[in-house]
């Protein structure tokens, strides 16, 4: 029994660790998409967040400053996306893909240049100040669920952020405005809501959370920098937003599901399974496809999935 509970505890612990960056990014993208802006630049934004955070921490020994830098970097990239899609009314898909391509390339480039000269500028293999698990006394002693309280500080942050994000979206004036802009910008505009301002605001805010998600990867989940450290998480998040039906409270579900797969994969590999590692590595992406199929099928059954009606549509007032 104790052995089983120890196994559960360890799986839950890894699940949360692996799910944290996904949850931050999912929350961010939910807010962005709720305003009617689809941002496919997540993968690039997470990567740039991860590399800049790691480099900052390496040079300053201050992981908090590193997180701040990642948030700013995510916000800046999102500003570019907002400018292209909201002001210039460019195609949101194309703009997002460009940001991913740019972000990926830029992150790799920085990973080879930002390091100290004695390593040829390379960041790979270096060690920097990171966020370690800080167990909460007493609470972390609870069997199995104690895993919730043996996390790093960024994961704890989610425990506060998720309910806040839910409350803000559904219970406040600003949340009402945000939902209206994503559902029906014409109406929101006629009701005196500044559609452009709202879209900029939440695209940038979303980008900041995505950058933070990237920082968690290089500062806590897998401290250090390796190329493609995100491993496609930016894409998985796009599916997780659908899985969460654009509700911040459900963002945690997808993260647990996908983080859980990571954890099981971990345990299996640790247990020395003969199952090919490549197949295990495919699991999260396979699950992404399955989730998309299920959600589409769900929608075909005429259940409300809740995609913002104006998602990925540019808005212009005097559209003649």
């Amino acid at each position: 029994m104790t052995e089983f509970s120890a196994l559960l505890t360890s799986i839950l612990t890894i699940t949360l660790q692996a799910g944290t960056s996904l949850t931050y990014a999912t929350l961010g993208e939910i807010y962005t998409e709720r305003s009617g802006v689809l941002n496919l630049g997540l993968e690039g934004m997470m990567l740039l967040g991860a590399v800049t955070a790691f480099a900052t921490s390496y040079y300053t020994d201050n992981p908090w400053l590193a997180v701040l830098v990642a948030i700013i970097v995510g916000g800046l990239l999102a500003t570019v996306h907002a400018f292209l899609t909201v002001t210039m009314r460019a195609n949101q898909v194309v703009s997002g893909l460009s940001i991913t391509l740019f972000g990926t390339g830029m992150a790799n480039f920085l990973g080879q240049r930002l390091g100290p000269p004695e390593y040829g500028g390379n960041l790979v293999g270096l060690v920097a100040e990171s966020f370690r698990p800080t167990p909460i006394p007493f609470l972390s002693g609870i069997p199995v669920l104690g895993a919730l309280f043996k996390q790093d500080i960024l994961t704890y942050g989610l425990y506060i952020l998720i309910p806040l994000a839910w409350y803000y979206l559904y219970k406040t004036r600003n949340g009402l405005n945000l939902r209206a802009v994503g559902e029906d910008p014409q109406t929101a505009d006629a009701m005196g809501i500044n559609v452009f301002q709202v879209r900029y605001l939440y695209t940038i805010f979303g980008g900041m959370l995505v950058g933070l998600g990237g920082a968690h990867l290089s500062l806590a989940y897998a401290p250090g920098w390796t190329e493609n450290i995100t491993g496609g998480r930016g894409w998985i998040v796009i599916a997780l937003v659908i899985f969460a039906m654009w509700n911040p409270a459900r963002a945690i579900l997808g993260a647990i599901l996908f983080g859980g797969i990571n954890a099981v994969q971990f345990r299996l590999q640790a247990a020395g399974t003969t199952f090919p590692a490549a197949v295990l590595n495919m699991l999260p992406y396979l699950l992404t496809i399955i989730v998309l199929v299920i959600m589409t099928w769900w929608e075909a059954l005429s259940k409300r999935v809740g995609a913002p009606a104006a998602l990925s549509k540019a808005y212009m007032r005097e559209d003649k």
């Binding site: 600003n174 009402l176 405005n177 939902r179 209206a180 029906d184 009701m191 005196g192 059954l301 005097e318």
Partner: protein, 514 residues
């Protein structure tokens, strides 16, 4: 009448240009407390533009606005709201996935960070009762009928303290009974000193709703009349700029063989809910069957099952004696069905393609326009020229993208294509919707022409006058069921109105005649 009160609202010399179009040309309006002003004009006359300027959605290029005697600048709808001006748009400004209460407070000035929705709901109830409107503040907008949504729009404006209400063609979506209710609400409001601007292109509504009427033509106010001192004929002449025939001559016609027969047809809508239930009727050669009903009662689905765009879940469809149930659109076309869809630019035409290509879109599969998949542009152009001349389509050239044409001319092009290709049955869905008086007249003439040539016509319309004028029989749809079929020569508008609200034919006739 001795002393003139100051107008609550005055717009002076408003000019608004869009690329290539002068939408408002030094337009003036004036309105006094407790009065309803009708803005009458054809489509494109500039009524909606003028009002959009007033609520701050458009910026005028020239002109001044005075509210309660003071010169004001209105930059946005919230500026307008602060001055007590609110507008019920043709496309309702309501978010479908939100509740009535949420919609009513959306974007309001001075709203608390955490709005108390229960308090809001109670206030909404109070106002609704005062004006005899029945609305559930907690209902989601998508659950409400169009008439109810309009009530929410009006409530929203009153809740926000609007003193001047602008209603943009409010009756287009209402049953005759709902229109009367709206008239009553307006009466209560004006008796309390509120004012309203009523945009319409229907003369009868001007007579029923307004105290004053301003007639707009090509962006200019061409005349101002006291409603009690004018009549529909005079208004129509002012609006169009020439005399209009109100009655089209419908020749007697001897219906021939049955062209279309529906037997107990059932179909679902996109949400999987029943859209058509047990629909049966026939149409014969040389006959126009009208379908009346408030929009959203299965009209679209009816047209779609007949044109092959939607599958039936039960029943049979026969065209010229052959079973054609659940066949593809192409099979239906080949069986002789032509379709004038409700959504002109979405389904009827490809906006970014040339007028000529749009005209050829039905005949391009066969010679002479094509040979084994190779198109003959010269012959297509020739065909297009012929159609443009025959149907008097006003286009700069056959190569012009069709989206640059006016609604009336796009509709003429679709009519030309569909009538030319018609081999028995013409399905026309809201063919005159949004068209001005002139274009409407020509569309109706074409439909009667088809009838005279022995074709069967299914005419879906929301305009009861149109149905009574040109249809031979009228079937009323309510929630996907046929409430009854009446002969149009002895049809009674009130009885039709009751049927549109779900009263079966016998009861409706008994109620209105007794």
């Amino acid at each position: 009448m001795a002393e003139e009160p100051t107008p609550i609202l005055k717009m002076e010399n408003i000019t608004k240009r869009f690329p290539g179009v002068l939408a408002n040309d030094h337009a003036n309006i004036e309105i006094y407390p407790g009065e309803v002003l009708a803005l009458l004009g054809e489509n494109g006359a500039g009524k909606s533009t003028l009002m959009n300027v007033l609520v701050g959605l458009y910026r005028p290029d020239e002109g001044d606005i005075f509210v309660r005697g003071e010169h004001v600048e209105i930059h946005s709808p919230s500026d307008a709201a602060a001055l007590g001006i609110g507008m019920v748009h043709q496309n309702f400004m309501l978010v479908p996935t939100m509740t009535v209460a949420e919609n009513i407070i959306l974007g309001m000035d001075g709203l608390a960070f955490r709005p108390d929705l229960d308090k809001v709901a109670r206030r909404i109830q109070e106002i609704a009762e005062h004006y005899n409107m029945n609305v559930d503040p907690y209902a989601y907008i998508w659950q409400l009928s169009v008439g109810e949504q309009q009530r929410v729009e009006i409530l929203k404006l009153i809740y926000r303290g609007a003193e001047i209400l602008i209603l943009d063609e409010p009756t287009a979506v209402l049953t005759p009974q709902e229109s009367h209710e709206l008239a009553n609400v307006l009466k209560v409001m004006t008796s309390e000193g509120k004012s309203a601007v009523f945009i319409t292109h229907k003369m009868e509504e001007v007579m029923e709703f307004s105290h004053w009427v301003r007639v707009l033509r090509r962006g200019r106010v061409v005349d101002v009349k006291k409603t009690s001192e004018t009549n529909p004929q005079e208004l129509a002449r002012l609006m169009v700029g020439r005399e209009v025939l109100f009655r089209l001559e419908k020749e007697a016609s001897e219906p021939g063989d049955v062209v279309l027969e529906l037997q107990n047809v059932y179909a679902d809508n996109e949400k999987g809910l029943p859209a058509l239930q047990d629909v049966s009727f026939t149409i014969r050669q040389g006959e126009i069957l009208g379908i009346a009903g408030v929009a959203g009662n299965g009209q679209r689905q009816l047209a779609e099952v007949i044109t092959g765009l939607r599958k039936v879940t039960g029943g049979h469809i026969y065209i010229q004696g052959d079973e054609e149930t659940n066949h593809s659109p192409l099979r239906m076309i080949k069986a002789g069905v032509s379709h004038i869809p409700a959504d002109r630019i979405g389904m009827g035409a490809v906006g970014d393609m040339a007028v000529s290509d749009n005209l050829a879109m039905k005949g391009y599969r066969e010679p002479p326009m094509a040979d084994g998949g190779i198109l003959h542009p010269q012959l297509i152009l020739e065909f297009a020229r012929k159609m443009i001349a025959a149907f008097r389509i006003a286009t700069p050239s056959p190569a012009t993208h069709i989206k640059f044409l006016s609604g009336g001319n796009i509709q003429k092009a679709i009519l030309a294509r569909e009538i030319d290709a018609c081999k028995g049955l013409l399905v026309a869905v809201y063919p005159s919707r949004g068209l001005d008086v002139g274009a409407t007249e020509s569309v109706r003439k074409r439909l009667l022409e088809q009838r005279a040539q022995g074709r069967a016509v299914l005419l879906i319309s929301e305009d009861l006058d149109e149905l009574i004028t040109i249809a031979d029989r009228i079937a009323v749809l309510f929630e996907g069921r046929v409430m009854g079929i009446v002969d149009s020569h002895n049809a009674d508008i009130d009885a039709l109105g009751l049927m549109m609200a779900g009263v079966p034919k016998q009861e409706a006739i008994a109620e209105t005649s007794g």
